[in-house]
């Protein structure tokens, strides 16, 4: 029997739950993953991704040597346009049978050459076009330390706030709403407090597939602690089997349903008056605006029976401890901010916030999306959510980064979606992408592709050439979580250690080291004083950030050696803060907002009769860079469209038939799954599969405040297609799980 050389404790690189892992390593190969049963986050439970989904680390397609395009290495001018290339020339010879110019060949090179090419080109563009031409995508999968350094590099050296990451595509609506109403944007309570809930609402979240371990805690709360669960979701998700009620609303009708619940709470005098009086403001105007949101009005718009809305409102309002958990179904709409505000109102009216076992809990998607946001990987904020357009905030970071007074930019940066739409002459000219994949994760991919092609210089720092990296000029091979040290901050705000299990494969290097190396090269070309890039270990990076961001001030690696700390941790002797807002909100009083119903931007019509909603699968992760290069892909090799049996019958579609799904923006061919998991008139697609990318179809309409796109609802048509039209006709997923 195999004995490990060592067992390394680390944190899962997939979702925001942040499960604790023990990596069993033999000859620099992880052959098994376990989890300590006393882990405060996951009690030893893992999902398929956490326990088995790390093998992408060893996939033959992983890039472990720096790459540059042939035209750069040969000193030629950049050919026109921009080509997507996945193949690599290992021997430097032209790639045979290339359909495009061999100038675009990927050629292996050394770090010195690759980093100099990046530095030369970024500085050239910066000197020519200034700060607004520079932009960077940070990465919600990378560590806090990696993210802090990358935003520091762009802010300190290129004086731009064009810094963002995929939080924009995920919970931006929730973040903006929580900032407006409370002044803070993380989960107010921890996931392990679910068992303290009497009643909890799960909405816009397929928790069992996207936060599997939190779903286990929810099921436990229902089965063993007598909690009642209310699911409000267009899909009949797995949790419905454990729920008291399921309110199947039409996608995009969150505001009327939640506002009708608020209406009932007010009309039936279930309001927690003490809380409303002492802790909130704007109640009177808000109540006036509720008048029209009767349950009957909400029923008309959403299809949810008025009586169910009443019953759900009473259940939640009359609970001793009520809590709300939500996901992308709330935020990924052109009125995502309003959707989240409507939920927040329910907590304000009932006072279900500020105590253990209650709260407003947006379940964060990525392992470190919370941390990347905390680290200032956003266009409006420095680390610690300090606004960039505030001179006092600016002065603090100028001092820390050794920058002349007034040197940092006060101008709000562009968001993820805006960075690409500004990619044209006179706009953004260069983009640095660390570990993200906009060519899968942005809506309306056909247009995104055009934007990518408009860029003058594109750098990808990643572990695979994904759909976006395939457009880059230089590829910097970074390391996955098992080959670097650092910290992730999970959805509970718990800061946990990530540890090196074995040396980086090939010539790949940890992200933080690549960034420091590059930053020094940039500084020497720019001829500026150094903003300090010589760290001997990642902890020094976290401590530097924590010296200004008080949330992290008390976190040292020693303190989180065994168990992570939940920030805010303002001092070295502070024990952490699992429950927020016990006395007041960061903005003082909680603010009610007057809301109106705004329909989705593209309603179904005769030509495009279905609403398409998109989401994720248990076995896969986002753009698929990791999971499509793993045994996970064997477990679930193809994306399928889910159609309700009633709709399938009308359109003559059988289970497993190939169908063409098209919107006004694009089309894909996939097999159909006939299931009552989706509701009538609504079809569902997972967005992980590049060969049938759901985001070719989605609508790029944006929420006006949060700039989050409307991934969750657009109009499509579905017609039978031929077997040959399928991208991989021989691949069939056969799974019995729900």
């Amino acid at each position: 029997m195999l004995k490990p050389d060592r067992i390394v404790t680390s944190t899962c690189p997939y979702c925001g739950v942040g499960c604790n892992l023990q990596l069993h390593v033999k000859d620099d190969f992880i052959f098994k993953v376990t989890s300590p049963f006393d882990s405060p986050v996951n009690s030893g439970n893992l999902c398929v991704k956490g326990r088995f989904g790390y093998d992408y680390i060893y996939h033959p397609k992983r890039v472990t040597t720096p790459l540059a395009r042939r035209y750069l290495l040969e000193g030629k001018p950049k050919p026109k346009g921009r080509e997507q290339v996945f193949a690599v020339s290992k021997d430097g010879k032209p790639i045979p049978d290339s359909q495009i110019s061999n100038d675009w060949d990927w050629v292996e090179t050394d770090w010195e050459t690759a980093l100099n090419l990046v530095a030369d080109n970024l500085v050239r563009i910066y000197k020519r076009d200034g700060s607004d031409a520079m932009a960077v995508y940070c990465c919600a999968k990378a560590t806090n330390e990696d993210n802090y350094l990358l935003q520091k590099m762009y802010r300190a050296l290129f004086r731009t706030n064009n810094v963002d990451h995929c939080t924009r595509l995920c919970h931006a609506g929730s973040v903006v709403a929580l900032q407006q109403a409370l002044g803070s944007s993380a989960m107010s309570n921890t996931a392990s407090q679910v068992i303290m809930n009497d009643v909890f609402i799960v909405t816009g979240s397929n928790t069992s597939e996207n936060h599997p371990i939190i779903a286990l805690q929810m099921k436990e709360a229902v089965q063993k602690y007598g909690a009642k669960c209310i699911v409000i979701d267009p899909r009949r998700i797995d949790l419905v089997d454990f729920s008291e009620m399921w309110l199947p609303l039409k996608p995009g009708t969150n505001v009327p349903v939640f506002s009708a619940m608020a209406h009932v709470i007010v009309k039936e005098n279930l309001v927690n008056w003490e809380f409303v009086k002492n802790r909130t403001e704007g109640f009177n105007e808000f109540v006036e605006s509720l008048e029209k949101f009767t349950p009957e009005y909400a029923q008309e718009l959403s299809g949810v029976p008025a009586e169910d809305i009443r019953k759900a409102a009473r259940l939640y309002a009359q609970a001793k401890n009520g809590a709300i958990y939500w996901g992308m179904g709330i935020s990924q709409l052109s009125h995502g901010t309003a959707s989240a505000l409507a939920l927040i109102h329910l907590a304000f009216l009932t006072g279900h916030i500020g105590r253990d076992g209650t709260g407003l809990n947006p379940l964060r998607g990525q392992n470190n999306v919370q941390g990347a946001s905390d680290m200032g990987s956003m266009p409006f904020h420095y680390p610690g959510y300090m606004r960039v357009d505030n001179e006092e905030n600016r002065a603090k970071w100028e001092k820390l980064w050794n920058i002349e007074e007034g040197g940092l930019s006060l101008k709000l940066g562009l968001t993820t979606t805006e960075i690409l739409s500004h990619a044209h002459e006179g706009g953004v000219r260069s983009l640095f992408i660390m570990g993200e994949n906009p060519m899968m994760s942005e809506p309306n991919l056909n247009v995104v592709r055009e934007h990518m092609q408009e860029l003058e210089f594109l750098v990808a720092q990643d572990i695979f050439i994904n759909e976006s990296g395939a457009f880059a000029d230089v590829f910097l091979p970074a390391t996955p979580f098992a080959e670097k040290d650092g910290t992730f901050s999970n959805t509970d705000r718990r800061v946990q250690r990530v540890r090196t299990a074995h040396a980086p494969r090939g010539n790949s290097r940890p992200d933080w080291q690549i960034i420091c190396d590059l930053a020094l090269r940039l500084e020497s070309r720019l001829g500026v004083d150094t903003a300090k890039w010589t760290y001997t270990n990642p902890e020094e990076i976290l401590r530097e950030m924590g010296s200004v961001n008080s949330d992290y001030a008390g976190i040292t690696y020693e303190r989180i050696e065994k168990v992570g700390l939940i920030y805010p941790v303002p001092s070295l002797d502070h024990p952490g803060t699992p429950t927020l807002f016990t006395k007041d909100f960061p903005r003082g009083k909680g603010k009610f907002h007057v809301l109106d119903y705004v329909p989705i931007r593209e309603e179904p019509d005769d030509e495009y009769p279905f609403i398409l909603t998109t989401g994720r699968l248990l076995e896969h992760w986002h753009g698929g860079t990791m999971t499509r290069n793993s045994a996970l892909n064997e477990a679930y090799p193809e994306g399928r469209v889910e159609i309700h049996p009633a709709d399938a019958e009308i359109h003559g579609i059988q289970h497993g038939d190939p169908v063409k799904v098209s919107s006004r923006r694009g089309e894909i061919v996939v097999r159909a799954t006939i299931t009552e998991k989706t509701s009538i008139g609504v079809v569902f697609l997972p967005w992980h599969f590049a060969e049938a990318a759901a985001n070719l179809l989605t609508n790029d309409a944006l929420d006006p405040q949060a700039k989050i796109p409307e991934f969750k609802a657009c109009a499509v048509q579905v017609f039978p297609a031929r077997l040959d039209d399928l991208p991989n006709p021989n691949v069939i997923v056969e799974r019995g799980r729900y």
Partner: protein, 233 residues
């Protein structure tokens, strides 16, 4: 919970009234062995290795489920107890492949097990089931502790993909209608693998390494698009 007094191996001890005899034994540094018991699962008293002798009770009592009672007189190392544990180990060893059950191997040494006590016993042999990309099942090593079934059900996953099948000596862990794992309700979480005490359940990559494949060969297997084989294995 009120405190109670009882006697452990002749020594008077106190404990809270809702504790099991196993809890009390552990609190006082008494190494009562367990196999089917796991801190993360509900105690089920299936394997009987944790039995202790309680004065006045007719048969040996499984310490993992029996609650401590006031004035109980408990022997954890009496001759009857030791003989019983030894016999259980000898019976398990005579029918199963316990070569990868580290803890049980240690127990067999501690209890001076005679490996040839039951030379005529019929061994429970079965082929390795390799029907999914994540883990393999070798029921020649399975001693039916039930932990995998428990964590698949209410003790962790609420998935109910596996259960006992067959009766008596033929009893095995199986899926409903003997379906291959991907076609059951299994979510491939591997929680069953985590609690298996004998390595009957094992991650696929560990299994392949042990079969002599190199890390590189295993990596090349995962290039996607691969059609599943061993469908009926």
């Amino acid at each position: 919970m009120a405190e109670i007094k009882l006697t452990f191996n002749g020594k008077e001890v106190t404990c809270e009234g809702d504790k099991t005899l196993l809890d009390v034994a552990r609190e006082h540094g008494d190494n009562v062995p367990t196999i089917c018991y796991h801190d993360a699962t509900t105690a089920n008293a299936l394997c009987r290795i944790c039995v202790v002798e309680v004065e006045g009770m007719r048969v040996l009592q499984p310490a993992c489920v029996v609650k401590a009672g006031a004035n109980m007189k408990v022997q954890t190392k009496s001759e009857k107890v030791l003989r019983s544990r030894k016999t259980i180990l000898e019976m398990l060893n005579s029918t199963l492949d316990l070569s990868e059950a580290d803890e049980i191997q240690h127990m067999m040494q501690d209890y001076s097990v005679d490996e040839n006590r039951f030379p005529d016993a019929e061994r429970r042999e079965s082929d390795v089931k390799d029907d999914n990309p994540m883990y393999v099942r070798d029921y020649s090593k399975c001693l039916l502790c039930w932990r995998c079934v428990q964590v698949c059900a209410e003790d962790a996953q609420y998935t109910y993909a596996i259960n006992f099948e067959g009766r008596g000596y033929e009893t095995q862990i199986g899926t409903f209608f003997d379906k291959i794992i991907p076609e059951t309700s299994c979510v491939l979480c591997g929680q069953c693998v985590a609690v298996c005490p004998t390595n009957a359940l094992k991650p696929k990559r560990q299994y392949l390494l042990e079969q002599g494949m190199s890390a590189n060969e295993i990596s090349v297997m995962n290039t996607g698009r691969k059609q599943r084989k061993n469908r009926n294995a």
